[in-house]
Symmetry: C2
Subunit: 248 residues, 2 copies
DNA sequence: CCGAGCTCTTGATCTGGGTCAATGCCGAGG
DNA sequence: CCTCGGCATTGACCCAGATCAAGAGCTCGG
């Protein structure tokens, strides 16, 4: 997590599609770039593609730390990234788990206001900040897209504040599971991926690992969810799960 | 708070500067409109002024409720507004206190994702949604300003998540007082206004009134702050207050 | 000037979730 | 195959802050 520990070489960058594993990944990434900016018309998209660098980030590697100069913006195309803030004494709050299509580094600031680290192996598109900003000037549609994303993020952040400030441990875990299922478009038939550790879940929900574990076990025991393995679950009883989440 | 209780007449609107108390208020509001959009050049500002309606909102009156159709955007020019979300059973989380110059209703959604209510008597500028959006199209500078504000709000929201998820009661109250002092540019010499009730503070910090009261008394007793009266305080010992806030 | 109804403070007690401490369960490496 | 080390679960106990219960100030209408 800390950049200090272990020689963390910079994330590998592929500048152009090539043969071999990295090449394949880059091709895949190119196809998905469009998810960043569905609102964009052809020429703007081409320009965006032109300044895109592809990045592969192995699980556990950090993308940037809070306070680093904000030289790039990113979109996630594959895998999962967690975004978090820390207190000096090590307490951590994860403010979000990003899924493919999500934007990262949306900041008008000189330095990042939070840290980002890969939960699973991840693929990203990286946009150099100055070039991206220049592109913004020429393409209002892109700016509009960003504003719309910022609004959604803000709404999600407010929902999370409600969770952290006012919900019980049971409600938090239920809300979390429900939210994951919705975002992944999975649920009662298709299993929902739960790739992050119990520690990460705890730091996202403002709880301890033990409490998270207990609540997940309780949900399983009461038949609200089923777990084929520790990192996947099925929503057996959506009604009761929603009720437990105290949806506002 | 609930629109149901008591016949809440719609907020009074002055469409043009006039003589009398409302007129004076509107004049004042006009002068301050510029705070919304310092980035704007002359013509854009004129256009913005042209679609502006002035609103006076007495303390305790609600501006809109979560779920209401989002027909307007606002800027606060005078007073204080609180923004909050509620759970069906009445639990409440205040997600922000707005000060003059702050923007409200920044949403790309059909309906408001939260409720807003005046803490003190307030003056606002109201912009009809469709007209404002049309203006956005023509003036990228305005859009840029909004994006920048959204970024700041997002950063503030993440900071608040850290507070709600990981800080102790003492740290929450200290962070809150410090944040207020900074935003108001007041502190050890000029008293900081604390216009909201202890209930509001509790609902902002994810605590109970009793805990908030106890922590404020403790801060007073330890000589970190002084309180000329219940709704103003002085930062006597900024060093210790910052330490108590566990700044990250 | 009074008093009703608030908000705020303070004290006493209770409890949800944190802390501490094993124990179980993998997956990776030998 | 075993064994090691990191997650995850489970149990026992504890404590920060919630809850319950009085008082103590304000404030505003009359």
């Amino acid at each position: 997590m800390r950049r200090a520990e272990g020689a963390v070489e910079p994330a590998e960058q592929g500048t152009a599609p090539r043969v071999g594993p990295c090449g394949v990944l880059c091709e895949d990434c190119r196809v998905r770039t469009i998810s960043v900016c569905r609102a964009l018309a052809g020429p703007a998209l081409d320009e965006l593609e032109a300044i895109t660098l592809r990045i592969r980030l192995p699980a556990g590697r950090n993308l940037f730390d809070e306070g680093d100069p904000a030289e790039s913006l990113f979109t996630l195309t594959e895998g999962m990234i967690k975004v978090f803030k820390m207190l000096p004494d090590g307490r951590r709050q994860i403010t979000g788990f990003l899924l493919p299509g999500d934007f990262l580094g949306l900041a008008f600031f000189r330095s990042y206001a939070y840290s980002a680290e890969a939960v699973t192996d991840a693929l990203l598109c990286r946009f150099p900040r100055d070039r991206f900003m220049a592109l913004l000037e020429r393409h209002p549609a892109l700016e509009k897209e960003l504003l719309s994303r910022a609004s959604s993020e803000l709404a999600a952040a407010q929902e999370q504040m409600l969770l952290l400030g006012r919900k019980s441990a049971r409600e938090r875990v239920a809300s979390f599971l429900l939210g994951l299922a919705r975002r992944q478009g999975a649920g009662s038939t298709k299993p929902v991926a739960l790739p992050m550790s119990r520690w990460d879940i705890a730091d996202y929900l403002g709880l301890t690992v033990e409490t998270v574990s207990r609540e997940i076990q309780a949900a399983k025991a009461s038949g609200v969810i089923a777990m084929p393995d520790r990192h996947h679950f099925l929503v057996v009883d959506p009604r009761r799960l929603a009720a437990a989440a105290a949806l506002g």
